[in-house]
Amino acid sequence: MENLERILAAHPFFAGLDGEFCTLACGCAKNARFDAGQFICHEGDSADQFFLVREGRVALQVSAPGRGASTFLTLGPGEVFGVNWLVPPYRWTYDAKAIAPTRAISMDAACLRNKCEANHSLGYDVMKRLMPVLVERLHTARVQMLDLYGARG
């Protein structure tokens, strides 16, 4: 557990996290490994985990009839995915697939939600870390939607 706490504290998402909070969050964490090509989650599944990527690369994909799977974002070390863990009905809204051998920290969503609910200071700290990620993702999604490199770019 001590080792995992060190790993958790070293991840950019939890950088500078208060020691007490780190211990609390670590109680919900475990190591996870995925082979290249392995699906980590599927759209519509229960979002009962939240992932912090340590090594490797993960593609977030959406499938459309007749078009197969399209990747809309790839993530690498230091990044996170699976923020659906925080918002009811706690369902994945995309597929996540490892496209290289990947190591991650898997956070038990229900466990972390309960701890955030019980300790609002921890919850606020986690929110402050999550919001910049969400704002950045929203911004980049907007830019992608502009199709800047298209004919009108």
């Binding site: 399209s70 990747t71 290289a100 980049t140 992608q144 800047l148 490199y149």
Partner: protein, 283 residues
Amino acid sequence: MSDAAFATLMHAQPMVPQVAHVRGRRKDTPDAWTLDLELANGARLIYAPGQFNMLTAFGVGEAAISVSGDPAGGPLIHTIRAVGPVSRALTALEPGDPIGVRGPFGVGWPMAQAEGKDVLLVAGGLGLAPLRPALYRLLGERARFGRVTLLFGARTPEDIVFRHEVESWRARFDIDVDVTVDHAASEWHGHVGVVTTLISRATFDPCNALAMICGPEVMMRFVAMALVEKGFGEDAIYLSMERNMKCAIGHCGHCQLGPTFICRDGPVFTYAQLKRFLAIKEL
């Protein structure tokens, strides 16, 4: 005609197109072609990385196109995207066809200022074409520069211009190359996301670095903002601007941006020079 005599002629008569012929034509992406040109008088056009020429499709019109070849030698190369009547006519030219050339025009990339510094090139879409001469110079005189990084964003994997060359640059040890696309099918195992997401993965010393950015204006704005956030000085960030250029010598005013003419004073400017104007909508 000697190269020097030809340069003098072009300088003396900047509005008169010289006849060249297409010697080679390659399709780079679904809507972009690269043309190798040879001047009819046998001279070689001397240009600096980042400069542009006015190319004439006879009987159709003229368009400003950046030089995308190696300034150290070889044919005069332009990479053109077929988006309007003139560019469609230019990209339809076949080997042997005549084409008009005026130039070179404008202020290019700050190669001298980049010496001794880390150099970060950020290209979006066909923005890699105007940056390619700078990259040739950086690689050709590699010891003069610090760490060299190319961050390149394209629409899809099929839209990666100069694909084979990008692959060869990736294989080199003296340049870091990172490529991302906005959208991809699941077979693509490279990065997906906007080009700004590559910046945090790049290694450079922002206190001793210089950035050259070329791509759609919105992309350049966001890249410049991200670099400032990373510690770059606004006067160490250079952008290549695109406007409706007509005369190319600062007379007609079509490409005016604030107090500057893109054709004459640019197309390369520092972010410090442009920042105020980039924020003005419809300018």
